[in-house]
């Protein structure tokens, strides 16, 4: 389990555009760095990030990103979303060595 830090503005007004920020603990090892003995450390990165919005039995991917080794350790991604109705934001990170992490945050639109 990796630690995540997701920031969603609380109780946005209907139809406002909010910025959603997602930070996750991960080394994002490039696969290009030698270790202390000079051996290349195997690549270990998050390859994909996805955010879904679910409301009233409907679920859509609202944002997704393919990450490469040039993304910094402990990846931070911020994107936007128009808050039209309350629902659940589902975050998913997947990567090398079967890495997977899922989080949900409820969105209450006022």
């Amino acid at each position: 389990m990796a630690r995540t830090l997701i920031t969603v503005p609380p109780n946005p007004k209907k139809n406002t555009v909010i910025e959603i920020r997602a930070l996750i603990q991960h080394p994002m090892e490039t696969g290009l760095r030698p270790d202390v003995e000079g051996k290349l450390q195997p690549r270990n990165i998050i390859q994909r990030f996805e955010c879904r919005f679910s409301s009233g039995g409907k679920s859509d991917v609202i944002f997704s990103a393919e990450l490469f080794p040039a993304i910094s350790a402990n990846p931070y991604i911020a994107f936007n979303f128009r808050a039209t109705q309350s629902g659940t934001l589902g975050f998913q990170w997947t990567g090398d060595n079967g890495f997977t992490q899922a989080e949900t945050v409820s969105l209450v639109v006022v």
Partner: protein, 266 residues
């Protein structure tokens, strides 16, 4: 002539009694000009932005883990930090700002990590976290953050003076194959460039901090060890008395400056 003689005297006073003088001045309501700069002030705006906003600060990942550790039971009595100390935002407020401090039994100074270890051993009867491990950095950053915004306040404890003085001697002692002291760079050339990087004034204002170079959180001792290997000296082991003395001197030197923990540095 008199004026010329006064100058070195003034500098000496700033070096040793800055904290007392500043505190007195602050109490009297007269702001004395403080030209000291935190490492933060030397960073680019985009790196500063990472520290300014907790939702962007990668160090917060460690702080959040530390918050969970604070409430985690450990040892044979199944006690957590919270069992004794309650809510950290209240009980830990100001603690990091006054360490290193004298430990009652040994009458020697210990730093915050060593204080945490003593609590683990004596009160939790649990295995202490080794220095610089992820768990230690998590709990230290969580405790440290409770003093964010407070001034660094070394204890008014006469027993510390000799240790602080030893730290000062260390700070000014040349070492390593490059034959450089801490003071050579951080007192005499602060603000100037070393390669592409600006030499900061070496104030421990934000530890433990997320260093972009490390791609991780690290303690002030990791930073000190870096500097020592930088001048090609053999670094002291973590928790060495020499480091605690150096930390004492750094705290005295930075007394009155605000804590930024958990900070971000290049």
């Amino acid at each position: 002539m008199v004026f010329i003689w006064l100058l070195p005297a003034t500098f000496a006073a700033i070096g040793t009694e800055a904290c007392a003088a500043e505190e007195a001045a602050n109490k009297a309501g007269n702001k004395i000009t403080d030209s000291r700069k935190s490492g933060y002030d030397f960073m680019s705006a985009s790196t500063q932005a990472l520290q300014n906003d907790d939702s962007q600060n990668p160090a917060m990942l460690w702080v959040k883990d530390g918050e969970a550790l604070w409430g985690r039971e450990a040892g044979k009595d199944k006690k957590s930090c919270a069992s004794c100390h309650g809510a950290a935002p209240k009980s830990m407020r100001g603690v990091a700002a006054r360490y290193p401090a004298i430990e009652k039994k040994t009458r020697r100074p210990i730093n915050l990590q060593q204080r945490i270890n003593l609590c683990q051993k004596d009160h939790q009867h649990a295995a202490p976290f080794a220095p610089e491990t992820q768990e230690m950095l998590r709990i230290e950053s969580y405790v440290g953050m409770q003093s964010r915004g407070l001034a660094i306040t070394p204890p008014r404890d006469a027993r510390l003076a000799a240790f602080t003085q030893k730290g000062k001697v260390q700070f000014e002692q040349r070492m390593g194959q490059l034959d450089l002291s801490c003071a050579d760079c951080h007192d005499n050339h602060a603000g100037k460039k070393l390669g592409g990087a600006t030499i900061p004034e070496a104030h421990p204002t934000a530890y433990p901090l997320y260093r972009l170079e490390w791609q991780s959180l690290g303690s002030v001792e990791r930073r000190l060890r870096n500097c020592m290997s930088g001048v090609r000296a053999e670094p002291y082991p973590y928790g060495a008395p020499e480091f605690v003395e150096l930390e004492l001197y750094l705290a005295a030197r930075a007394a009155g400056m605000k804590l930024e923990t958990p900070g971000v540095r290049p």
